[in-house]
């Protein structure tokens, strides 16, 4: 908790006081600093609940009404809003479009327009497939390389044994003690 609060304090110190929209006085401990909510949309009036009650703008088709208007209230837009209070027949098409764009950043058609992101996703997927295939080939090669060693084949191991017997390897208790040299067979 102390770490969290210290992070928030540092974070809030980065911003000047004007950006703090509200100060939440509810604290976990009495000596915690107050949680300062940063106004990310300065100069805009909150006109709705929006996504989570925060004063925030976003473009989403499933929640079409964000909490604030997109553009700041400049004198030009204020004049337009005044004109909007009258008859809408008298507004020109340009003014209507400006009104829309002052409230919203994107239309639904623009939100849902294809971005072409899928190409990069496909490309990266293929890259990792390639990496996996190369790794598979590497391991396959390592595995088969072990079997190419001559000392792993049955005949060669038999020859090794024969040579050990011919050298009389461990004649008292070991290998050669169990070999009968007169019969040329195991005892």
């Amino acid at each position: 908790m102390t770490l969290l609060t210290s992070v928030t304090v540092r974070f809030t110190r980065l911003f000047p006081k004007e950006f703090a929209s509200s100060v939440n006085l509810i604290r976990f401990y009495s000596d915690d600093p107050p949680y300062i909510r940063i106004d990310r949309c300065p100069g805009r009036e909150q006109i709705g609940f929006g996504f989570s009650g925060e004063k925030d703008y976003y473009d989403r088709t499933d929640l079409p009404c964000p909490a604030v208007r997109y553009k700041k209230e400049t004198p030009e837009i204020k004049a337009l809003h005044e004109k909007e209070k009258g008859d809408w027949h008298k507004l020109t098409l340009e003014e209507k479009k400006k009104l829309y764009r002052s409230s919203f950043r994107l239309t639904f058609a623009e939100i849902e327009a294809p971005t072409g992101r899928y190409k990069s996703y496909f490309g990266w997927a293929m890259v990792w497939y390639a990496v996996a295939l190369w790794l598979y080939m590497l391991f396959y090669w390592c595995k088969n390389r072990g079997l190419t060693r001559p000392s792993l084949y049955y005949e060669n191991r038999q020859a090794q044994l024969q040579r050990l017997i011919a050298m009389k390897y461990e004649p008292v208790h070991g290998l050669s003690s169990k070999w009968d040299y007169e019969k040329d067979d195991w005892k």
């Binding site: 006109i47 709705g48 009404c65 909007e84 008859d87 009104l99 409230s103 239309t107 058609a109």
Partner: protein, 162 residues
């Protein structure tokens, strides 16, 4: 139904058969009930529709509707798995007129088109035809007349800026 291949005594077998009979009867009743039931998923109650439409229309027709309330109601409308009825759309547009919010009215039209989903060609012309009088009355354009049915501006994605 639970069946077991384990051998058991005569009496147990008899009781088992009884239980099986009962279970069969119960199953039969259940299936017959399902066959006659009135409230299935595919069953459509016109009464419910009327109530649903009336609830929204009444809400939008309130005299002192607030910009917060209308947005909340639109979000509520979007949450439902249904295409908004022309009556609801008209009431909502009138509420927008009372609140002097042209942009929100256009957004409502966009929402109705978006809610048609894959069946835009089937339902959207009908809705347009129904709401056309109110559009003319309030001085609203359809989204096709504004040119918002196709992307107008291209914006850099937020994730690509930095």
């Amino acid at each position: 139904m639970v069946t077991s291949n384990r051998k058991c005594s005569n009496t147990v077998e008899k009781t088992n058969e009884k239980a099986k009979d009962e279970a069969r009867k119960a199953l039969y009743e259940v299936t017959s009930v399902i066959g006659r039931q009135e409230y299935s998923i595919s069953y459509h109650d016109p009464k419910y529709d009327e109530e649903y439409i009336k609830r929204f229309v009444d809400f939008f027709n309130r005299k002192h509707i607030d910009s917060w309330e209308i947005r909340r109601a639109i979000h509520d409308l979007v949450d439902h798995d249904s295409i908004p009825d022309p009556e609801i759309v008209c009431a909502c547009l009138r509420a927008c007129r009372r609140l002097n919010d042209y942009a929100l009215a256009i957004r409502v039209l966009e929402v109705t088109k978006n809610k048609c989903g894959n069946k835009v060609k089937e339902y959207y012309p009908y809705i347009l035809q129904e709401i056309k009088p109110t559009l003319d009355e309030l001085g609203l354009e359809t989204i096709e007349e504004l040119g918002y049915d196709k992307p107008e501006l291209a914006v850099v994605d937020v994730d690509d800026i930095h």
